[in-house]
Structures are given as C-alpha cells and as structure tokens.
C-alpha cells in the first residue's frame, strides 16, 4: 500500500509568474462565462459567477499546468464532477490559455468543443466526464492511486457541489480516500445552497458538512468562496499539510456573484436571463471591476 506523496521532489514550475492579480483572473473568468451565456442565450451562469473566484485561485495560484500541453504528465489534475458547471470551467480554461478565446462563441453550438455539460472527450483540459453527479470523487480516488503509483507530486483537485452530496457514491469515495491516506487529493465543495428542486439546505440538508468530512477522516477547511485571500490561504494550507489525509475546502459561495441584479434575482438552479440582460450584466461586471 502506498501511502504518502513525496513532497521532497521540487514541483516543476508550470508557467511564469505574471502580475495579473487573482481578482483580475476571477473577473475575466466571469466575463468569459457571461459572453458564453450571451452566445447561447442560456447557461448555468449563476453557478459560474459564484465559483469564479475558486477557479481563479485554483488555476492561477494553486495548480501547475502548461497551457500548450493540457496532457502534460506533471500537471495537477482538475476534475469537474458537476458537469453543468462546464461554462465556468471553459471560462477558466480560456483565461488559462488552454482554449482559444474566440472559441467561446461556439459554446453549446453543434459540433462545438464546449458542450453544455462537460465531457473529457470534447474539451482540452477537461479531465473527466461529469454530469452524472456523484462520479467525480470516486474517479479522483483512482487518479490519486495512479499518481502515487507513478510517484508523481501532482495533486488531484475535485470540484463537486452541496446538492451532489446526496449521492451515496460521494461518501464511498470519501471513506476510501481517508482509508488510503490520499494526501494528493484536494476536494472542493461549492456550497451555494441551491439545487434543482430548491435550497440544498431544505431539499434534504447537508449540514454539518465540516463535521461530516472530518468524521470521514479528512482535513477540513471552510471558507468564503468569494474571498480570494481566504481561498489562497486555504489552498496553501491544503497543499502544505503534512498529515497523510485527503483535504477538503468547503467553499460558501454566492450565486451570480459580481452581477448585482442577478444576485438579487429569485434563486434558481437554472437562472433565467433575458436576451437583453446579458450585455447589461457584462457592463455591470465591467463597472464593478473599476469601482
């Protein structure tokens, strides 16, 4: 049984440091997502806007990757369990230079590499086929096994959501990850308290979430998922932890974050946006950035 990731080996640098701030990255992820929504006339935009800060910190602070080589062996793996968040991940992959920016115009169109629900076979940088919820964390366990066998120092990040916690397979994986001491696994839960049939806290309830993961043997942090500084600290702590445990960062996020009139809109799993509102939303996002 392999149990520990060797942290002694230096982690190769994936990309040169830039002066672009993480807040700017998050802004551009949001903007990319809104532009895709505008093209398609629909999309899980509220989730995308809510998770943009987490993706910015993941891709531009925590993870190593090579934009020109999405299959680079030394990359950190990012597993999107929640396939309907694809619009958000595409927005991040565009910002990361893995997908050309002009391709966002093809989002959700016939023969696009950017389908509405994320699939590994379609999109560079999309590690797994999500969408059938409850798959990501179990897959992550297998990725972690494989990386440990190869003595890789890469981390596996797996993004799943509060509503998805109802799937029993998540808990099979959570149990196993601590049994196998998968210290190369960093789970990220998006807690936006919204699932298809209503607030996740009411549909069946998922609290006390931190305690549940702790009881499953995980190192647990819970942060404001729209606070970039808090996220940076949490990702640093998760990566730097010496304990041979899987790590989880529970991120409380605000749906539609960054576009005030959408933040105020009646909460819904699939937020309705009128055709003329997309441009308005982009303008408000742009204004908010400079204010």
């Amino acid at each position: 049984m392999t149990t520990s990731t060797s942290q002694a080996a230096p982690r190769p640098q994936a990309h040169a440091l830039t002066n672009v701030s993480l807040a700017d990255r998050a802004y551009r992820i949001r903007r990319n997502a809104l532009r895709m929504g505008e093209v398609q006339g629909q999309g899980y935009i509220a989730q995308a806007l809510g998770i943009a800060d987490v993706l910015a910190v993941s891709y531009f602070h925590a993870m190593r990757f090579r934009p020109e080589d999405p299959e680079w062996e030394e990359r950190d793996r990012f597993l999107l369990s929640i396939g309907h968040y694809a619009i958000a991940l595409y927005a991040a992959l565009i910002e990361a230079g893995i997908i050309p920016e002009d391709e966002l115009e093809s989002y959700g169109t016939d023969d696009s590499r950017l389908p509405m629900s994320g699939m590994a076979a379609y999109t560079p940088g999309m590690e797994i086929t999500g969408g059938s919820l409850g798959h990501g964390l179990g897959l992550a366990v297998g990725f972690c096994f494989g990386l440990k066998r190869k003595r890789s120092t890469s981390f596996v990040y797996c993004l799943f959501s509060d509503g998805e916690l109802g799937e029993g397979s998540i808990w099979e994986a959570a149990w196993s990850a601590s049994h196998w001491q998968l210290d190369n696994l960093i789970g990220i839960v998006d807690v936006n308290n919204q699932q298809a049939d209503g607030p996740a806290s009411q549909v069946t309830g998922f609290e006390p979430l931190a305690e549940r993961f702790a009881a499953f043997g995980w190192h647990v942090q819970r942060v404001d998922g729209n606070d970039v500084d808090a996220l940076v600290a949490a990702f640093d702590a998760a990566r730097g932890l010496a304990e041979p445990k899987p790590r989880i960062i529970i991120c409380d996020t605000k749906m539609a974050k960054g576009v005030p009139f959408l933040e105020e809109r009646e909460r819904n799993h699939f937020l309705r946006v009128e055709p003329h509102e997309w441009r308005q939303a982009i303008e408000l996002l742009d204004a908010g950035r400079t204010s």
Binding site: E127, G142, F143, S169
Partner: protein, 350 residues
C-alpha cells in the same frame, strides 16, 4: 399483484421422506457461494482467472487489480497474493470500485476490477457507462456468478447482465466456457485496447475445451464440432452443456454441430452467418441468460438483418422471470440449462 412464493413444502411431516430424502429422490440443498459448478466426474482447474492474471502481470507492470470485498469469490486473491502492492481492496462499494478503476486507467494503468455480475450490471451501471465506456477506457470488469450460477436467488443471479451490457456502447462482452478458455482469455482481453466485461467461472472450474484443440481469440466464434441436423450456437457454460447434449443426441442419430461464441460483443457475424446459412439445419442458440436481450436475440437480429433464414430457430435461455432459489442442479434442470434439459428440448423441436 405483489409477487409471493410462500408455499409450505408439501413433504414436511412426511416421515418416509425426512432427513436426506429418499434414494430415488435425494433432497438437494443450495450450495455455498464458493461451491464449484463442476459435475462429479468433470476435470477441473483451480482459480484459472487468478493464476492467469498473476502470471500476465509479471510482464505487464501496468496491470492492477481491484475488488469490492470479493477477492476470494472472484479468484482475485491469487493475484493479490502474487502482487500485493498492485492490489486495491475497495471494500463493499461497487460504484467506487468502478470509478477508481476508471481513474487509474486515466493515469495509464490497466485495472482488472472484480465483483459479482449482479453488482456490476445493476448497481454500478451508470459508473461503468459514464466513467469507463463513454471514454473507452482500458478497464477489464471481471464478474463471478453470471446468469444462473448460484442458487441464492435473484439478489445474486445476474440473469440479465449481457442484455444490460449489450446496450452500452464500446464495452466488449466475453463469456468463456471453462478453465482452459479463461486462462487464454485473460491475456487476450488485456491485449484488446478498450473496456471489457467478462463473465467469470471461479473456484474449481471445469476443464473441457483443451480436448478440442481450442484456442480463444477475442471476437472469434469457433466451431467445436460439426453436424448436419442442428447447429447449437452457444456461449459460456452452455457450450459445455451443448457438447454433452450433442453426444447424447448422437446416440439418437441426431447430428449436432456446436459453434462456440465466447465474444458476445462484438459478435463474430461472419462466422455465425456462414454457419447459419448452411441449409437444412435448425439453429438453436443456448445461453446462460434471460431470453431477453442476450446472445439469442443478438443472433436472431443478425440473421434477420442479413436475410439468413435457417430451417428453424430456437432459443435455450432462462425465462423472463425472477428465478427460484435452490440447488443449482435442480434450477438448471428446471430452467432448461442442464444437459438433460437441453437434450430434451432439442429432441422436442425436431
């Protein structure tokens, strides 16, 4: 109406038939899960899958083995003992078993994941479909207790596993007959680049096909015996039943050919069409599986699509029912899979 099988056995209280039953009517009981399928006079080999995989892994470092608390019951314990650092005990969690196998395949390994056929086909279906088949990952799913190979009842009888997996794109389905074939199928399915579902006979597995000079080839059907009156097209353990039935029918001057089809998907259409086109023969498809969606319907569809109409077409298969619990010989006789039942059926159709 809710299904009920509650009927007090009529023989209870009959003094003459107490204990072990009578000499002419022995009381058969459900055998343990680990019991062999072999008849009393049959040659057997122990754990052919486990030994073949352990041997193959010597030269294939990418092979890993995973199970969901059924290493002993799928013969994977042999591999685990030979390669302990390459064995992953996932506990009683089949969804995780399959997901973890998929993740390891993504990292370049070749996982052999084992459980019972019911749990792979029924419980883990969505995970096999989306995590493995959709991406065409190189995972081999090897499952004990296919079809009717236990008397434990529907919870353990995977009577519809082939139908379930035939509907799933990309995944190949292999149904070996005996220990000889299992040994050869292991390296062959490893050489096939893609997901495979293999039905497994475990424990002391009957040894039959070595006497026929048979070699397993992935995707190939092979004629084991020629005959002019009846063509039995069969897979899995039904091929050994077909061979014995053919012997029995020969003494009645019925000349029976046996075409063994261990790869159910992709189907060896050319060989099946060639054999079924031969004039004057009744085609009988025999399978250890429900009559719905298995080899029989696959062959029937192929013949219809191709405009090949044999003298007659019949199926030996399990009924579209939840089957009884009980002793396996009783059940194989009851549901038409025993040598006697196969012989009887074919005679009745001639």
């Amino acid at each position: 109406m809710r299904r009920s099988k509650y009927t007090r056995p009529a023989w209870l209280g009959e003094q003459a038939e107490g204990g072990q039953g009578t000499a002419d009517r022995p009381r058969l009981t459900t055998s343990a899960m680990i019991a062999s399928l072999a008849g009393p006079d049959q040659r057997t080999k122990p754990a052919p899958f486990g030994h073949a995989l352990a041997a193959l892994a010597e030269t294939r470092p990418e092979i890993v083995g995973l199970t969901a608390d059924l290493a002993k019951y799928t013969d994977l314990h042999v591999f685990a003992k030979a390669h302990p650092d390459r064995f992953y005990q996932m506990g009683m969690a089949e969804q995780l078993l399959i997901s973890a196998a998929a993740g390891m395949a993504r990292e370049g390994f070749m996982p052999f994941a084992t459980t019972y056929a019911v749990f792979a086909a029924r419980r883990a279906y969505d995970f096999i479909c989306m995590a493995i088949a959709e991406e065409n990952l190189n995972v081999k799913i090897v499952c004990a207790l296919p079809g009717l190979t236990t008397g434990y009842g529907p919870s353990h009888q995977a009577t519809e596993d082939v139908a379930i997996f035939r509907g799933m794109p990309n995944i190949a389905i292999v149904d070996p007959c005996d220990a000889h074939e299992i040994e050869q199928a292991v390296p062959a399915i490893a050489a096939h680049d893609g997901p495979v579902y293999m039905r497994l006979l475990r424990g002391n597995v009957p040894l039959v096909l070595d006497e026929y000079g048979y070699r397993f080839e992935f995707g190939k059907a092979k004629t084991l015996r020629d005959g002019n009156d009846v063509l039995i097209v069969s897979s899995g353990l039904m091929t050994m039943r077909a061979l014995e039935a053919a012997d029995a029918l020969a003494s009645d001057n019925v000349d029976v050919a046996v075409l063994h089809v261990p790869t159910i998907k992709p189907l060896d259409e050319a060989t099946i069409l060639k054999e079924a086109s031969r004039t004057g023969r009744m085609v009988v498809v025999a399978e250890n599986h429900t009559i719905v969606g298995g080899l029989g319907e696959a062959v029937a569809g192929l013949l219809m699509r191709s405009g090949v109409f044999p003298a007659a077409f019949r199926q030996i298969a399990l009924p579209d029912e939840f089957l009884d619990a009980g002793a396996l010989p009783t059940l194989h006789d009851r549901y038409g899979l025993s040598v006697a039942a196969v012989t009887r059926s074919i005679k009745g159709w001639l």
